[in-house]
Symmetry: C2
Subunit: 246 residues, 2 copies
DNA sequence: GCAAAAGTGTTTATATTACACCCATGG
DNA sequence: CCATGGGTGTAATATAAACACTTTTGC
């Protein structure tokens, strides 16, 4: 229910301790066989000089998701057009009192899965923005360590039963690249032939690219190219060998 | 990132349009083979007289989850102790500008799965509180129709790969009751023998109750009793016949 | 006895797993 | 020609689905 604020009956917006709302992003990508996270170096207190997830305050006329896209474009130099098309997913909201020393700040966290992008340039409030390997990340500002860990867990689980993995790939990709996404996020090796059959047996997961141009990931035989299909769910799911879920 | 609010550098908490934060709950139960939702009738404008999800404002020293438990206890007459033990799960946050006509209100929505409880008594801001069959619910206040639909979808998906279904059951339950949870939420009939094997084959899903007392759900042969086990994930998952996922 | 639900067994289909093997390319 | 990754085939195993049958209760 959404009745009037406590201690107030006449909707006096300023009569109670205000909340600030931020949108923070865990932007993940697979680069050189390792999971990477987009981080910014904070330019001001608190936590000046520390690494943090990109994000910022939600403006009065924005939804949290709009704010997330805007902040991402501002802080990384992505074009607004690219940011508008990104796969963004709401992760959860962090509302513990005291998570920001200045005032009551509630953060709506998002997860973004992106293909390997060019190195970002800093901008906005961020002193600099960089991709860092997930394993090397420690001691982020605020409760961002926890947010990042939650994002990683969620992504690992969603790969099992959704077609999300294609979001890590460029528009056209080989099945080897797609498999590498799973292997990187799950940290296991998958059987190549079985992976291929599984993916191709799922209607709408990937669609072969017509023109028989082929491309190689480096060495070896050139592979057929695919695009992401229209399906979003995976049935039956692709379970990881030593499975866990959310 | 969480730098200073826009248009402000000195952390003047009152210099920008304030947000209010609410916690709203989709409390679901299975009753007489149908999914039911706990709703309250609004006692004041806006939407006075309309049905809404229980919930209310997050207080300055609370997290959203604490607020959700407190509001649930207040509005339904559940003991604070019961509310403290409920299975509560954050669903998502709704932040569209304009979702509340009075001011900028952001809602953190939770889903609660509860066993068949006694009819609630109204309290707090609510004129009355009632269980209503999910299928009959329409035209809730604010964007609560959407929140409720999201909650239902999430619960249906989570039954597949988590042990959540036991949250709908009382402390001791029969496998028939557990199966009815699945059948009700998914709207399909499940094969009894196969369901039984599947549940018993999952370590930690249910634990048999020692004393061989047995109980019947109504007619038929008395069934063995079980308690919820310590497992939270289901591996491999229990897929619904005509599957979908989140 | 009959209906209803529990519980056991069995058969068949489908999915997963673990390999062996050939193909095309770069160096 | 050999290392590397793409792609095909196949047999062994595990899981899921369908259904027949016995048991125990209330009425």
């Amino acid at each position: 229910m959404t009745s009037a604020p406590p201690e107030v009956e006449g909707y006096d917006k300023y009569a109670f301790e205000p909340f600030a709302l931020t949108a923070d992003l865990a932007v993940l990508t697979v680069r050189e066989g390792r999971l990477h996270v987009l981080l910014v170096e904070r330019g001001q207190e608190p936590y000046a000089g520390a690494w943090a997830l990109p994000g910022g305050f939600v403006l009065p006329e924005e939804s949290a998701e709009q704010a997330a896209r805007r902040e991402l474009a501002e802080e990384t130099g992505l074009s607004g057009d690219t940011a508008a098309r990104l796969h963004l997913e709401q992760l959860r909201t962090y509302s513990d009192p005291g998570r920001d020393p200045r005032m009551r700040v509630v953060s709506v966290a998002f997860t973004a899965l992106v293909p390997d992008l060019p190195e970002p340039r800093g901008g906005g409030d961020a002193a600099q923005a960089r991709w860092l390997p997930y394993e090397d990340v420690r001691h982020l500002a605020f409760d961002h360590d926890r947010i990042l860990a939650d994002a990683r867990e969620r992504v690992g689980a969603k790969l099992e039963y959704s077609c999300l993995a294609t979001a890590f790939c460029p528009a056209e990709f080989t099945l080897g690249e797609l498999r590498q996404v799973y292997e990187t996020v799950w940290g296991v090796a998958l059987d190549r032939p079985n992976f291929r059959r599984k993916v191709l047996a799922t209607p709408g997961f990937v669609r072969p690219v017509e023109g028989p141009p082929r491309r190689t990931g480096g060495r070896g035989k050139p592979a057929a190219l695919y695009r992401a299909g229209e399906a979003t769910a995976l049935h039956p799911p692709l379970l990881r060998p030593e499975g866990r879920s959310a």
